[in-house]
Every structure is written in structure tokens, then in C-alpha cells.
Point group: C2
Chain length 214, copies 2
Amino acid sequence: MPIRILIVDDHSVVRQGLQMFLALDPDIEVIGEASNGAEAVEFVKDEQPDVVLMDLLMPIMDGIEATKVIRSDFADTEVIALTSVLEDNAVVGAIRAGAIGYLLKDTEADDLVRAIKAAASGQVQLSPKAAERLMREIRAPESPEKLTDRETEVLRLLAEGKANKEIARELSISETTVKTHVSNILMKLNVPSRTQAALYAVRIGLVSEDSLGE
Amino acid sequence: MPIRILIVDDHSVVRQGLQMFLALDPDIEVIGEASNGAEAVEFVKDEQPDVVLMDLLMPIMDGIEATKVIRSDFADTEVIALTSVLEDNAVVGAIRAGAIGYLLKDTEADDLVRAIKAAASGQVQLSPKAAERLMREIRAPESPEKLTDRETEVLRLLAEGKANKEIARELSISETTVKTHVSNILMKLNVPSRTQAALYAVRIGLVSEDSLGE
DNA sequence: ATTCATATCCTTCAAAAGTAGGAGAGAGCA
DNA sequence: TGCTCTCTCCTACTTTTGAAGGATATGAAT
């Protein structure tokens, strides 16, 4: 019997493209589509597909979160992260969340099919570039340290362009404390200034672009 | 005779999806694909399609640059910018480069077809979100004053997270001069800090997200 | 010829950002 | 009970940023 697939992506163009790719192979059957993480989790609960092709960047519930839920609740369903941008943290995040594969959207049709078949039998599949990143990540001692909840909160405000004094007011703590947090953030992210920290936050999607400067 | 289309996107999945969408309509014929801006320009030179569907974020030559070239050299070819959510703030840049339309990738098949037909006859097409952005940009009473070339250059470096000293070194001018430029930039953009100026630059797509912090 | 915009540089000063090195309170864990 | 982590706050200090108010040179426009 064919491998049962769920496609999760917020862009209908991409979903259609994947359908197209996968229609070429008789061993694969696309049994559903979802346009966000929450829908995906629902679908998996009802239908238990063999493999989920998961976009990481989505509204409602992002792909990493959805992957985490699926992998912890439905161990028989494998997840392949499929994304357009190669982002260091996303690779590590996806793997940590339980994804068995990480592919870029520029993957060719037959590579994709191969990856799905591998995933269905529990084998790990990474696109060459992703694998390289992962290697670098593991080797490199300069992988950003994990921020605490409070630090993340401060970073979010910082990344909205707010001054220390404003952040202090907003969180009802002293400006000194904010400075302490900011210093720790800079140290952990290994960047020299709040501006670079803000750019980092935007890059990893901590703040939506809509909120930038308004 | 059908409308002749060129699809430009660096992801084969997306190209395939678009092909799929457009195959539904007999009035539309996809005559080629390109995976970066440089290829796109080449193709337009050889084949002069009626409409180009252009992704904005690509390697080699980005979509805005390619649009600029195409529109200045081949006036009969219309360009529709087609992007994913994250980039939807490059609206102004795309329009300024000469794009006649701006659509998001979550557009449905028939909307896309409608947009292409409109573009082929020279009509402007914007997705609701893009239109909103544009309106806001135009309406905004505090519409940012125009920056000079030098100021834009400084802003670009600033938006890469560089300090005044670094910018001075890079441009071979004194730090004092950089400070003067930065002050003028903040005044013109009506923001209180370099961090907010950097975020503004990202928002309008002055720096590509790839370059952020890397 | 003169005015205007741009770009360069200066000094002086105030505010904001960051660093260094503490220290106490509370939560959770071995 | 210690131990560690997080969050909070402090003083004292340096560096960076940014504002204010100049000055000079160039080139284009009137």
C-alpha cells in the first residue's frame, strides 16, 4: 500500500506544486493538506498519515511547534521539514522537535520522493546544505546559547526598537535590570550591540515584520 | 493567442505549483522558467514574454533588480511580483522598480489567472495586503523625507548592525561625518534611535534578510 | 553671480548603552 | 540541606550615540 502523506504549507501555490511532484509516484498518496500547524495536528489526530511534509514558517502555529506536538503524540507519523530559507536555528530546532528530515524547497522531484520513502522507513534525510549547517552547528562552539524566558521577552521589546527605559517601564522592572538582561543577551547571542540583537530577533522571526517600527 | 508567461522563482516546487495553476486556463501559456534574476533577464531578452511572474527573494540577482532591468529594457513585458508573506513589505520597492502587480503566494488559482490577464492588458493588480501597505505608505502624513544617496548608503551599513566607527572605516570618512549622516537619517525618518532606523531599513527591504547578522 | 543641496569635518555636551562585579530572594533539584 | 538557575537590583565606570551649532568645498541650478 502507498505511503500516506499530509502536506502542510500556508501557500496554496506550494501545496499545489508538491501535489504535482508527488503525483508522479504510485507509491505515494497525498491524503490531505493543511495551511497551518493547528490544522496539521488536527489532521494527524484523525488520519495518522505516514509522513508529514511540514513548512516551518506559518501563521497560527509554526512548523516547529506542530512538529513537536505530532512527534510526541503520534510516534508513527514521521515529519519532514520543508522550508524555503536555510536558517541555522531552524535546522537545529526542527531536528530537536523530532523532524526526521530537513529539505529545502529547491529540491528536485525525485529527491523529494526519495526522501519521503526514506522517512517512511525511519531513515534520516537532510539536504546537503542543511547537513552542512548542522555539522557546522555541532562543531562550532559559537552556537547561540539559549535565552531565558525573561531575556526573550526583553529581546522582543528591544527588537521593536524600544529603549532600555521604555522596556523597564513596560515590564515594571528597573532600568538597571533591563541593562543586565541586555548584557546577558548580547553575550549569549555573541553580538556587540543591541542593533545586531534586534536584527537577529527579526531574522529568527521573534518579532513579526509587521510590527517593525510601528 | 495566449498570454505568454515566464515564471521566475528559485524553488522548483513553487515553479511546479504555478505551472499547475496556470495550466487550468487555455488563454495562458507558460513559455519558460528561470531560477534567478540573471536567467530571467536573459530569457526576456530572447523571448519577450507578455508577463513575468517574479519572486523577489532569489540568489544571483534579486527580483527587484531584475524587475528594474526588464522594465527599463523591455517595456512590453509586464512584471508581477509574487512573494511569500515575509517579504510583503518590499511592495514599494517592487512598484518603484516597475512591477505592475504585487501578489502573495497564498493567492488562489483563479485570482492569479485574473491578475495575469489584467497585467497583460496593462492594469495594475495588488493583493489586498499589498494595497494596504501602499496606501499606508502614501497616506502617512509623516511620510519619511527622502534620503540622499550617501545617507542611504550609511543606513544600509547601519542596518547591518555596524557601529559608526565601522561605517566610517568602510566609507573612508570620519566618524564625525558618519554621526552627522546618522543624525540626519534619524531626523528624516522621524525615529529616535539607530535601532529603529535599522528596523525601518529591514522593513522597506533595503537590506535582504539573508544579510542580517551574518 | 548667487543660491541651493550635498558632503565633508570640527567641538562641545548630554544621554543612552554596555561592562564589571557585586548581592539577595525564590524555585527547583539532588 | 546544599546547589544551581533565574530574576531582581545596585554602584562605578567606559564607550557609543546623538544633538547642537558651527565651518568649508563642490557642483548644479537659476
